[in-house]
């Protein structure tokens, strides 16, 4: 293997390779996948001179540590955290040079959940259906990182623009998700619809890349019986029989059999990716654009 590679010293709780995902194959049961906080992934790519679709690492709560085999430029963004290179403090949210063999340590999230690590040249693991994303639901793409994993890197490119640092949105203290009702809001009682858009839920610790699970009021159905399986979209708020809404994130199944009470605006999903367990969640009904 060439020296354009880096080894994983500490994989962290869950670190995956992500790009912009593999849309267009839902009819075959293939989830879209891709970085949960797309704007953060695009920003760290820009900081190291990568195109926006280059593959990055997505960390979960506990960060990770990496040792490149050649000098590389990296940028860490998304959830704020301590960054060190060879044990010395380094910048977060800015390009950082890591010499060959030195360890880049991406610390646990101080706030938020998902960190993003871009490496100049991108991570060039084998693409599956046009994407290098790890898909935890269907197992496509590279498996989550483990200690000792070696990741191949692409050829380094000079940054497009000299940027020292870039502002990034702070993880939300309260998650406000704009939602358009339907397509199956008529499966719920008027009380349930009121509770859905007026009460406060909390992010459940059972949340993952498939869905943001919530705790809070139980949404009761107006009609029983089973819904025949139907196509699901990113941001769909599905309500299983227990009555707790689940917001479908990037690795969501492409079809499902529980009614969707509403759909969260695409622009609000990156914040959902950064909402830690316990964060209050409010669903605000908005009109369709």
């Amino acid at each position: 293997m060439s020296d354009r590679a880096m080894s994983v010293v500490r994989a962290g709780a869950l670190t995956t390779v992500q790009d912009r995902g593999r849309p267009g194959h839902a009819h075959l049961g293939v989830p879209r996948s891709g970085a949960l906080d797309g704007p953060a992934a695009a920003l760290v790519n820009r900081l190291v001179g990568n195109p926006p679709d280059a593959a990055v690492l997505e960390t979960t709560l506990t960060g990770c540590a990496l040792a490149p085999r050649s000098d590389v430029t990296v940028a860490v963004g998304g959830a704020p955290c301590r960054v060190t290179v060879g044990g010395r403090p380094a910048a977060w949210g800015a390009p950082v040079r890591v010499p060959a063999g030195a360890v880049l340590d991406v610390g646990p999230a101080i706030r938020g959940v998902r960190g993003y690590v871009a490496v100049s040249g991108g991570i060039v693991v084998e693409a599956v259906l046009g994407s290098r994303s790890t898909d935890l639901l269907s197992g496509l793409g590279p498996p989550p990182l483990t200690d000792g994993t070696v990741l191949p890197l692409g050829r380094e490119r000079p940054p497009h623009a000299r940027v020292d640092a870039a502002p990034q949105p702070a993880p939300p203290a309260e998650l406000v998700l704009r939602v358009t009702l339907g397509p199956r809001d008529d499966w719920f009682t008027p009380d349930a619809l009121r509770a859905f858009t007026a009460r406060t839920f909390h992010v459940s610790s059972a949340s993952n890349r498939i869905g943001l699970r919530t705790e809070g009021p139980v949404l009761e159905r107006a009609r029983g019986g089973e819904l025949a399986s139907e196509g699901m979209v990113l941001g769909a708020v599905q309500v299983p029989p227990a009555g707790r809404p689940v917001v479908f994130l990037a690795d969501h199944p492409t079809t499902g059999g529980y009614p969707v009470i509403g759909v969260v605006r695409r622009a609000d999903l990156p914040a959902a990716a950064q909402a830690a367990p316990g964060t209050p969640v409010r669903f605000v009904a908005v009109r369709r654009r």
Binding site: G182, S229, G231, M232
Partner: protein
């Protein structure tokens, strides 16, 4: 036909039957291939077709409301044959539900011609219809934590083949060596919506 908006850029089109859903799916794919419909995803399901990634969902909705959907065209594609050993652990239970001897299950199942109504659950997993309604079976009361890859299984009106090992609650009637999903192959999925399928009993089964 009922057209339900889904979020800002998707539509769920609901029809009365599986046959209508299949016809609608075929028509929507035809329109996309002819450049008449810009949709990122066209996802057929049991009674619906989802159109996702529409630039002008309102316009598409009014076009669809006025559209004539011809019955699904006869398939010219050849039949995909899936060599199957009818040796699943639920063969006895299915035979009891059908009220036939065990070896009849293989004969009845292999006599039917199936079509992939839609996919989902896992890449390469197709929901195949083709058995007469009297052979519908319920899911198992307790799902298995691990169903081996290649398991041929029944649930409700559907037959499916597990592309890889996973948990599952379907009734297992057989196994196949056929590769349902291989991302290095073109196409990666052996079965896609509309594919005709036959299960061919292997000798000695």
């Amino acid at each position: 036909m009922r057209i339900l908006p889904v979020g800002d850029d998707a539509l769920l089109v609901e029809v009365a039957s599986r046959a209508e859903a299949e016809a609608l799916h075929a028509e929507l794919v035809r329109r996309r291939e002819a450049g008449l419909l810009g949709a990122r995803e066209i996802v057929p399901a049991a009674r619906t077709v989802l159109l996702d990634g529409l630039a002008h969902p309102g316009r598409v909705a009014s076009e669809l409301a006025a559209a004539h959907v011809p019955p699904a065209p006869p398939r010219e594609r050849e039949v995909v044959e899936i060599p199957t050993r009818y040796d699943g652990p639920d063969l006895g239970e299915v035979a009891a539900l059908w009220g036939v001897p065990e070896r009849e299950v293989a004969r009845i199942h292999a006599a039917a011609e199936f079509r992939v109504a839609f996919c989902g659950f896992a890449p390469g997993f197709g929901y195949l219809t083709g058995l007469p309604a009297r052979y519908d079976v319920p899911r198992r009361a307790a799902p298995r934590t691990a169903v081996p890859a290649g398991s041929v299984a029944l649930a409700g009106p559907y037959t499916g083949v597990y592309p890889r090992a996973s948990p599952g609650g379907w009734q297992l009637i057989g196994t196949t060596e056929a590769v349902l999903w291989d991302h290095t192959r073109v196409p990666a999925a052996l079965l896609s919506p509309g594919t005709r399928v036959r299960f061919v009993p292997e000798d000695g089964a």
